[in-house]
Symmetry: C2
Subunit: 320 residues, 2 copies
Amino acid sequence: MPKAIGVDLGGTKINVLLIDEKGNILARDKRPTDAEKGKDQVIDKIKEMILNVLEESKLGLGDIEGIGIGFPGIVDRERSVSIYAPNLGEEWKEEVPIGEIFSNFFDIPIELENDVNLIAWAEWLVGAGRGTRTMISVAIGTGIGSGIILDGKIWRGSHGIAGEFGHTTVLPDGPLCGCGNRGCIEAIASGSGIERYAKSILPQHPESLIWKISNGDLNKVTVKTILEAAEKNDSLALHIFNYAGYYLGIALANYVHIIDPERIVIGGGVANVREYIARPMREEFYKRVLNYMKERVSFAWAELGEDAGGIGAGLMILYK
Amino acid sequence: MPKAIGVDLGGTKINVLLIDEKGNILARDKRPTDAEKGKDQVIDKIKEMILNVLEESKLGLGDIEGIGIGFPGIVDRERSVSIYAPNLGEEWKEEVPIGEIFSNFFDIPIELENDVNLIAWAEWLVGAGRGTRTMISVAIGTGIGSGIILDGKIWRGSHGIAGEFGHTTVLPDGPLCGCGNRGCIEAIASGSGIERYAKSILPQHPESLIWKISNGDLNKVTVKTILEAAEKNDSLALHIFNYAGYYLGIALANYVHIIDPERIVIGGGVANVREYIARPMREEFYKRVLNYMKERVSFAWAELGEDAGGIGAGLMILYK
């Protein structure tokens, strides 16, 4: 069975996987990115990790079809160049000829793609999107990323930024977002958005269990402590997740009205919170979405977890 | 040069055009829909109008490539059946085999498509979208409709409802929309949305010129009377258009973040108001849209006016 290497270069971790056509993981290496140590360190580390995975599997370059690389930012696929990444440090805010760098070292096909597109690609091919032709994938973590599969192909847009769902506005005068605007869904319903909202309303709620669980320290309030309080039925914690879910439902209805997919696949770190956010999210979504769509679009939880990006990177080599 | 008939079936008017490959109009017939007189009346009238246009042009069925029909609602293109139209009366709220009806009468190819998709198709091929591969078209009239061209093809979505931009929420607790939800951009920035907003705030502004122009009668307040007041620098009238433009800018930034088009083509009846809405719209759009997109996406006014739907219907026959 044909095999490929998938690299998921993230802001905090690098995940290198050897996968087969079914998305099975045959070998893996995962290390911290240490982005602050600079670009060359990151590139050298990825090379080393790829060699390591091949060696462990007793394979040579001739045994794999190519290397797919997922990048946390904007890429120019045709030139195989990264354009801009917000989270990897200054050196990555200008073009890096990633394709060329790796082609010179590994004499096999190299492909570069945006990481959230690869999560969508993986979920569509071998995860929760199987059986559909058109789906959207939304990853809720520290930020909110999204990828779009239209009729069996990644939709990248005219300039490679399609699917910037995280920066769609749902509350025009809402909280400030990292992008500089107010009220983006990312500023409200991402992990960091949820934490910020919690910190903003906690002072008016001295009775909330969240205080106790966070040892009375606002700096220790995280999605995890809010979740703990919610599990004990703390009404403020439940409100905080309701708030995020409500706006997520609105933003997803907007998304569905534009794209008209068969399925919405939801994953990412905040998926831990699952039903606390999903219930109000679904409720508001079905309230907002046009009647015609109510029975025609379905929700599914992502199936591939943290490996989705790496699996998608490998599958990009194995499927066109 | 190959020719085709394009039919634009609207809620108030039917427009039948004979066009050539360049979208030139060679003959036309336009009549009121009189939807209240029933489905059969509408269908018979369209047949008559087509025959009339051919006769005027001294052409037979053999001289044209086919008949394209634009429908103001959801269609199933493959079966050439209309599924649902909100504005044509009860008989059109169930399936009508339009393709079959016209094929039985005219023995040439018949194609059926949603009308706003055809506006996008026409503007893309021979109007303000020329030269792009990917564009979105937004028609602001009594409602707000939109069509999407992705890489040279109409994007219809999985169930034929893609591009329902008018029903994306920009103000979660905003005014009630015809669709049953609150704060859809259609409820705020369409002609009827603008009029409703004006009527809601006029009572607090006895000094506004709009009162004078409308003879002190709230029922006579229309986009036209507000425009007249705005042209005389009436601050309330300017505020009303600013309000619509502001939310339109937000909604369009959201749209662009999802689709990533090269161009946004704006038309429809409210285009009369042009700069009064466009200035605040552009201002808010460029404030909200990601930096990377600011210089990469352009606005253009639609070029084909009220004939866009009919031209698009004919061009659907002539181009695949």
